[in-house]
């Protein structure tokens, strides 16, 4: 019984591999790589290469295999947890390059998962679809990178005013999110 189901699973996997096309595969590779890099940057360096990193790796790669599931949300939360553990637990300092990398990789993983969720693995893909998608993601990343640099510089200048900046930005973000949800509810 068990052997039969394993054989069926192997046969199904072979059929999927035989039919898969290049572009959706590359998109899924992108999800896996960005997830893995985000884990590497977020979690403490001392954890890299140990057996504790194996579940993190699996968790990072899982959304690439099942982009329609909740794996991407879970992986992003684990990355944020790692960042909190490293900065609050291990006492690592908040460095600009790490914030920038984690934010960019998380968003890249998120948007590529959104693409892979609607893109069948065996599709004949017009390249302008992926090109346009990546261009929009790049524009968003550019704007948020500028915001990150400016904000971190500001908080460094204010020296201790980080709490104030966080509160202000947080309130602004919360207002934006509320407006967004209200618009969506009105449409529905």
């Amino acid at each position: 019984m068990m052997a039969g189901s394993v054989t069926n699973a192997v046969a199904a996997a072979r059929a999927v591999t035989a039919r898969a096309t290049g572009t959706p595969f590359l998109v899924r590779c992108g999800i896996g790589i960005s997830g893995l890099l985000a884990m590497l940057v977020a979690w403490p360096v001392s954890l890299t290469g140990t057996q504790y990193f194996i579940p993190l790796t699996l968790l990072a790669v899982y959304p690439a295999v099942v982009p329609r599931g909740r794996g991407a949300t879970l992986a992003a939360m684990v990355v944020v947890t790692g960042w909190l553990v490293d900065t609050a637990g291990y006492g690592a300092s908040v460095e600009l390059w790490r914030v920038l990398s984690i934010a960019s990789l998380l968003y890249l993983g998120h948007t590529l998962t959104a693409l892979a969720a609607v893109l069948p693995y065996d599709a004949v893909v017009n390249l302008e679809v992926v090109g346009g998608w990546l261009l929009r993601a790049a524009a968003v990343l550019l704007v948020s990178a500028v915001l990150t640099v400016v904000t971190l510089a500001l908080s460094a200048d204010l020296a201790g005013g980080a709490f104030l900046v966080a509160t202000l930005l947080g309130i602004l973000g919360a207002v934006g999110a509320t407006v967004l949800i209200a618009r969506l509810l009105r449409r529905a």
């Binding site: 992003a76 939360m77 914030v99 934010a103 998120h110 947080g170």
Partner: protein, 444 residues
């Protein structure tokens, strides 16, 4: 009193656009990171939320309002088996925002070999524009071959909103049977008796002079009018009116399908041979000015009434597209399948049959007994055999073949000529026999 306004269809159709899991993820992560940032006083956590918030806001600043439109085009040209088909799927975007990703997929008939038709296509469509996916390919078998149903699923706003799938029904491509060249030089059995006092108005082989015209390729040499040709120093022929007015009834045995069809390039099943032979015979006799009618020997007994000319040829081709196995279940009574009153007594009846069902042989014998001029065309593929179910199958197949040969022999004894379809000239020999039979006194 004000008449009530007609209800808008959107009010009942529910929202066509639904949020995706990506939107839920973006909102959740943004909210969670903002909350943590404010609670812990960490600006870096707020900054981690920034791309999600900016991306969602930028994507959702304008939302789609109308559903996409999908159309299937198949081209209207005359397609013969083995010919080229140009199908296409067109997605139209009536909205003011672009569709970031449209996944279009379609089903197709197994006899249409269209390029990549078994795969979904991922395209993007600009606002107020359209995008067509071409599906060139070949039609491998006669019949009404479907392209569709097709479905399109659209993702807009960076994948944060998705449309419910839009499905359109299939569109048929008419693929006409390829006709084996068929020529029968023998006279019609009942032609002489049908001429009567009325001359046909149709040009063709006959005795009544219609006029003199210049020689054209295909004219018979004995039709050359030498006197006119000498006078004008150009070859001229005397054209005549047809004095043939015979009816040919093609009776198609559709009680069952035998053999595996391999399309135009592969092996032919019974129905393939039946349809292609019927088209060839009908073309031949209609070109010669005869009237041709068609009748199915099956449960529904479809019928095409006798007529002549090119228009009838096109009607015959159209009629043949709908030929499919039409078995009569659990009824051994031949009379319930088929009525004699459909068959004109002067018609030449050409029965295209595999002679697998015993009722077909009975029908042939009865037709001959009732005094019709009958020719049976054997449409069974030479390599047809039942599937191997055990060690006795080859023996059983041999027995069945011997029994079938026996039936054919008995039919020949009854005066039913049975000939295997082999295209050009395959019926000449038997038609000569039928013509000779027809000259004998009728009735028994």
């Amino acid at each position: 009193m004000v008449p009530p306004l007609p209800p808008e269809p959107e009010q009942f159709a529910g929202p066509a656009w639904v949020p995706t899991r990506a939107l839920g993820r973006a909102v959740l992560l943004t909210g969670l990171l903002l909350l943590l940032g404010v609670a812990l006083g960490r600006v870096d956590l707020v900054l981690l939320a920034a791309p999600f918030a900016i991306g969602a806001a930028a994507s959702l600043r304008r939302m789609p309002r109308s559903a996409p439109e999908l159309t299937i085009a198949t081209g209207d040209e005359h397609i013969v088996e083995g010919g080229h088909v140009d199908a296409s799927l067109t997605v139209t975007n009536p909205d003011v925002i672009a569709y970031d990703l449209v996944v279009v997929r379609t089903r197709t008939s197994p006899w249409l070999k269209l390029e990549h038709a078994d795969r979904p296509f991922a395209i993007s469509v600009p606002p107020d524009g359209w995008h067509a996916v071409d599906l060139p390919g070949d039609a491998n078998r006669w019949g009404r071959q479907d392209v569709g149903p097709a479905a399109a699923r659209v993702a807009a706003c960076g994948g944060l909103l998705a449309c419910r799938p839009v499905v359109v029904p299939a569109r048929g491509v008419r693929v006409y049977p390829v006709t084996d060249p068929f020529k029968a030089t023998e006279a019609m059995p009942a032609a002489a008796g049908l001429v009567g006092n009325h001359r046909s108005r149709r040009p063709g082989e006959g005795g009544e002079l219609a006029g003199v015209r210049p020689f054209a390729p295909g004219d018979r040499l004995r039709r050359i009018d030498w006197r006119v040709s000498l006078r004008t120093r150009d070859l001229h022929v005397a054209s005549t009116l047809s004095d043939r007015d015979a009816e040919v009834l093609l009776l198609l045995d559709v009680l069952g399908e035998v053999g595996r069809s391999g399309g135009v390039a592969g092996g032919a099943s019974v129905l393939d041979t039946t349809v292609r032979a019927a088209a060839a015979i009908a073309e031949h006799y209609l070109q010669r000015g005869d009237r041709v009618s068609l009748l199915e020997y099956g449960a529904t007994a479809r019928r095409l009434r006798a007529a002549t000319g090119r228009r009838q040829y096109l009607t015959v081709l159209e009629w043949l597209l709908d030929v499919r196995p039409d078995p009569v279940e659990g009824d051994d009574d031949y009379a319930n399948v088929f009525g004699f009153h459909h068959v004109s007594s002067d018609a030449l009846v050409m029965v295209l049959t595999p002679l697998v069902d015993p009722r077909s042989a009975d029908m042939l014998a009865q037709l001959t007994r009732s005094g019709r001029y009958v020719v049976a065309v054997d449409t069974l593929p030479p390599d047809a055999a039942p599937g191997n179910r055990g060690q006795w199958t080859p023996l059983a197949t041999r027995l069945w073949r011997m029994e079938r040969e026996n039936v054919l022999g008995r039919l020949r004894e009854h005066g039913v000529p049975v000939v295997a379809w082999a295209g050009s000239g395959s019926l000449d020999l038997v038609l000569r026999d039928v013509a000779r039979l027809a000259s004998a006194p009728r009735g028994r």
